[in-house]
Symmetry: C2
Subunit: 335 residues, 2 copies
Amino acid sequence: MKRLVALAALALALPAWAEDEPVTPNSIVAAAPASDWVAIDPADLLVMDLAPDRDGNPRRVVIQLIPAPFSQGWVGNIRKLAAAHWWDGTSINRVQDNYVVQWGDVTEKKPLPDGLRVVPESEYLADLPNPGWRPNICVPNRLDCPESIEIKGPSNPTMRDAYAEAAGFHFGWPIGFAWRDAGKPGNLKLTPMQLTAWPTHCYGMVGVGRNVSPDTGTGAELYTVIGQAPRQLDRNIALVGRIIEGMDNLSSLPRGHGDLSFYTDEEADKRVPILSVRLGNEIADLPHFEYLSTESKSFAAYVHSRANRKDDFYIQPAGGVDICNVPVPIRRVKS
Amino acid sequence: MKRLVALAALALALPAWAEDEPVTPNSIVAAAPASDWVAIDPADLLVMDLAPDRDGNPRRVVIQLIPAPFSQGWVGNIRKLAAAHWWDGTSINRVQDNYVVQWGDVTEKKPLPDGLRVVPESEYLADLPNPGWRPNICVPNRLDCPESIEIKGPSNPTMRDAYAEAAGFHFGWPIGFAWRDAGKPGNLKLTPMQLTAWPTHCYGMVGVGRNVSPDTGTGAELYTVIGQAPRQLDRNIALVGRIIEGMDNLSSLPRGHGDLSFYTDEEADKRVPILSVRLGNEIADLPHFEYLSTESKSFAAYVHSRANRKDDFYIQPAGGVDICNVPVPIRRVKS
């Protein structure tokens, strides 16, 4: 059978970096030492069980909640909603092609649990105090900086980005950066600056539905991205996590035909019931998950390889890669 | 019901640019004069009818073939395959989440019609002789060029791009650019240069499956993009069109579980049969379609608006946009 990308599966099946095989993103991930993988705490997982499909197959979606310094006001609310079993009996209500799948209470009348925070818009952004992230601003050698502004972390490759001054990875998550209250880059001193950062709307990221500004949403209404990264939502809406397993249980749902692709009442039978949403530490048989440290050398090599594909299939390396085309590797581990 | 993007539908329902309504991408498209729309010749459409879904609903996919100077060797083959009704009785064979849906002859034994061209890899690229595309290379005012290299067409906004020296639009299609055989931009003279260009792997674009290099595929095996733009395939594989209607008939199909997410023989019942593929001028009742001229002022305003969303919902304009987050507006017209 003709293969669009013939080597991806092969690379997984062969010993990584065998002498006669090209280095690929997959071979790099397969060869990463155990010390480059970071365990995900089950308490940071949200497990959503949907009603079985028409053939009776179970449908589980596993979400990893984003850690500090990002979006913790909403993440705290989500932990309370899960503890209250608030989502049980709600449904998937919107599926818009090349955009989002959205779920929550379709009636909008279900009372929320007590104690949810009202989170201000300022929390769409977070400061990055990690001293490893002192930026190296590429101003003095500007003619050697064809790729716009470069910011380099200790071992983090960076990339040109259409939406942010720079984009990169921070402890497992894709983020955009800017200088807080900074003017033009040429005006900056070459000293450590305060960076502000935000998670980016990549495929599979999970965010908080809301009404118009200044509403920021509670976290009861959630969505995930199922198409080209809608990065215009960055800094305009809270991102609280990403789907690490079961994404196709959402992305392959039938699209809605109402306003904004919500399901209409006439197609109410398409609203998939949500049986339960629990924090991972409440689920007895949940597998353990790990992500590849974005601060590791393996990850840097992985990004470099994704940006410069060259093997029996790829004849022209791109020489670059979009932040949202670098999914952070996640794996199940035997417990 | 809470709306993730509350104004999109409203903007469509209201008179465009009403004094008290914000300008949005949708309002700009709605207000574009008839002269900014370009008719698509039915002879440049490929109409693929799939077997009905489980509820008996018909499933039609309409593909617009890409015009010269791009990929015409493969497009010519595709016209021959359609004329020979070659795809009738073949099937959808691969659905990989956040990547592609692929279709063709699953047996790989169906004889191809006579007269198909073997197209060389050099045709992944095309020269752009249009004098309107003399580039304005932003070298002398480099400190005023924070967005890397700028290339400006007559009315085409451009954007930072992670994969190409620049990205933009050419007569209705998203493309990447580079200078043919050029060195570093700083070495170039400020005179018209020969640009080389290629279509970009955006959501819904249609390409030609192939084996390893130097095979380039015939066009019999096709795929479309259903996730984040896999731009690493640019210049490595031929793009021959885009889906302009019925995309969700492909993007919402169940994902495969074999190598590269091909359907396994055990899940052969998921392979949706292709009833027929015809050129649009063979279909009696086909609606007419138009695209918004990418050389029009309306399109320039549309790109600017997508790059700078600001209204009751958007509080922080991005100040940029990715080429693949600017779908070229397509509409049905009453005939």
